[in-house]
């Protein structure tokens, strides 16, 4: 049930316990216990909401930044990655194989705010060799959810 439960709530964390129990074919108490275990084990890290900010009047700017860094003796990339992810503006930090080391995503209110974060904070850190900033122009799909258009049910109303 663990995998199936995770897959359901990954898509819809608002489904209530009773409904979860029904569609998984188990008792409600089993769902409660399993969720508690998943939280305790750090497998469930939070219950977030998927928001298309574009459709609101609130301004947000997202950027993806390729960062090349010098690994440190005995610590590799971890210490510098930690210094970066502690900033509140930073949404995610991934260690990447290939032409650069870290892929950092940033969220800010304006281009200026993001730019100044990169030039003042990020690129001046000891060990950061270079950065390349890519601003997000449009989100088509995020976290497995298509944001651009709704899919209509094209089926005939009744078929054998």
């Amino acid at each position: 049930m663990r995998e199936e439960l995770l897959r359901i709530i990954e898509k819809n964390s608002r489904m209530n316990l009773k409904e979860l129990a029904v569609i998984l074919g188990v008792e409600e108490i089993d769902v409660i216990n399993e969720l508690a275990a998943l939280e305790a084990e750090g497998i469930i890290c939070g219950y977030h909401t998927m928001i298309d900010w574009e459709k609101t009047s609130i301004d947000k700017v997202n950027a993806l930044i390729e960062v090349r860094i010098t690994p440190q003796r005995g610590q590799g990339f971890d210490t510098l990655a930690e210094r970066i992810y502690r900033y509140a503006e930073v949404q995610s930090v991934y260690l990447i194989s290939g032409g650069y080391d870290l892929l950092v995503s940033i969220e800010g209110k304006s281009l200026r705010e993001v730019s100044s974060f990169v030039s003042d904070k990020l690129s001046t850190l000891d060990g950061v060799l270079s950065t390349a900033t890519h601003f997000v122009l449009k989100k088509y799909k995020d976290h497995g959810t298509i944001l651009t258009n709704k899919i209509e049910d094209e089926r005939e109303l009744i078929t054998p």
């Binding site: 409904e19 569609i23 899919i151 005939e156 109303l157 009744i158 078929t159 054998p160």
Partner: protein, 394 residues
């Protein structure tokens, strides 16, 4: 002027579903639970292979029986899922949906007009009976019973067999009841089939959608492969209804004659779909698993909702239909469905559209999102509460 029409065709009753469809289509805001096809779109990698085949210019006929690579993949699939060995050269025919295979299979096997009988268990898919008539056979209906969870029993089969019986249609997992036949059930009827030396047309289009044990094909039982036409396709397993891709596997002498009809009537199944079908069989197992999991969640949800309403329904373990009993309300399936549509704006198909033995039942499809099913179940609950009140006040 001379009558241009063939009596045999004119006499075939239009499908009961058609009648209901006309009422529903006038109602713009109705929610439908009446659809016999998946709500999922064909997985992208399968669509992509179809597109890619067009880009490469694969726009010609294939061989009549279908692309050899696709036939090989079908043989691999049936070997890995059922342990049945078919020869890709002689035992497989790619058809335009499972429906074509049903039609030409009967035509390849029946001598018209001499009273050869085809046994058709009902409730079942709407095309077996008309196809049997068009093939010149006499359709003989076996009425399946709710008390057997709409499975076909050896006794029911034996009672229906006469000297004229040639072919049994075996429609499991079943549309509209959701019933399945498990291995023991099949073993029991296989004995009768062999004893009376008849053939089987096993329509296994829902074979990937079972929620108890894995589907077992009757062709995998000892002595049955040589007397079974196995029909399957891509529509339900891979959500590919619009591609019209099906296939038939069976003894080479029957497949050869089916291929002959197919050659003259159809030429070959759509080429684009055949390329997509290869991709589906090679890399589609995870898609099936995901869709099956989603259907199973909805199935559990509906069974639970019926239980809470006190609506009688055996637990079905196949396809994507539930078949609740509405006899307690003292009206026919059609009356119930019409009022449900009129008063709650929900369309479900009356059970008798699938044969007389479906009278007193309603086919509810769960090829819909949970959110939609929830709204529909709230309305069903309200509706039957009202009907029970009415009955009390009578």
């Amino acid at each position: 002027m001379r009558n241009p029409l063939a009596d045999q065709v004119v006499e075939i009753k239009p499908s009961g579903i058609r009648k209901f469809f006309d009422i529903v289509s006038e109602m713009k805001d109705a929610i439908s639970l009446g659809v016999g096809e998946p709500d999922f779109a064909t997985p992208w990698h399968i669509r992509d292979e179809g597109i890619y085949s067009l880009e490469k210019g694969h726009t010609k006929y294939t061989s009549n029986a279908g692309l050899m690579q696709l036939r090989e993949e079908i043989c691999n699939y049936l070997y890995r899922t059922q342990g049945i060995k078919y020869s890709s050269k002689t035992d497989v025919l790619i058809t335009v949906g499972g429906s074509e295979a049903i039609d030409i299979g009967m035509r390849a096997m029946i001598n018209p007009g001499v009273g050869e009988e085809i046994l058709i268990p009902q409730p079942s898919y709407v095309s077996y009976e008309p196809c049997a008539i068009l093939a010149g056979a006499k359709p003989v209906i076996i009425n399946l019973k709710a008390e057997n969870e709409f499975r076909l029993t050896a006794k029911e089969l034996e009672d229906a067999i006469t000297e004229k019986t040639k072919l049994l249609i075996l429609p499991f997992p079943n549309n509209p009841t959701g019933a399945i036949m498990e291995k023991e059930d099949l073993e029991a009827i296989a004995e009768v089939i062999i004893k009376h030396d008849i053939y089987v047309m096993s329509d296994e289009i829902y074979s990937e959608l079972t929620y108890k044990n894995k589907h077992v094909s009757i062709a995998s039982l000892p002595g049955m492969q040589e007397r079974t036409i196995l029909i399957n396709g891509f529509s339900k397993a891979y959500a590919m209804t619009g591609w019209r891709m099906g296939y038939a596997c069976g003894p080479s002498n029957i497949i050869a004659q089916m291929t002959k009809i197919h050659q003259f009537a159809i030429m070959c199944a759509p080429t684009t779909g055949q390329y997509a079908g290869i991709e589906a069989l090679k890399h589609g197992d995870d898609d099936i698993r995901e869709m099956r999991t989603a259907y199973n969640q909805r199935r559990r949800y509906l069974m639970h909702a019926f239980k809470e309403m006190g609506l009688e329904c055996f637990e079905p373990f196949g396809a994507f239909y539930v078949f609740p009993c509405i006899k307690e309300f003292g009206m026919t399936s059609e009356e119930f469905a019409a009022r449900f549509l009129e008063e709650e704006k929900v369309a479900a198909v009356p059970g008798n559209a699938f044969g007389e033995s479906g009278e007193g039942y309603l086919r509810i499809s769960y090829a819909y999102s949970l959110e939609k099913l929830k709204v529909a179940m709230e309305r069903l609950s309200r509706f039957i509460t009202k009907l029970r009140e009415e009955q009390k006040n009578k």
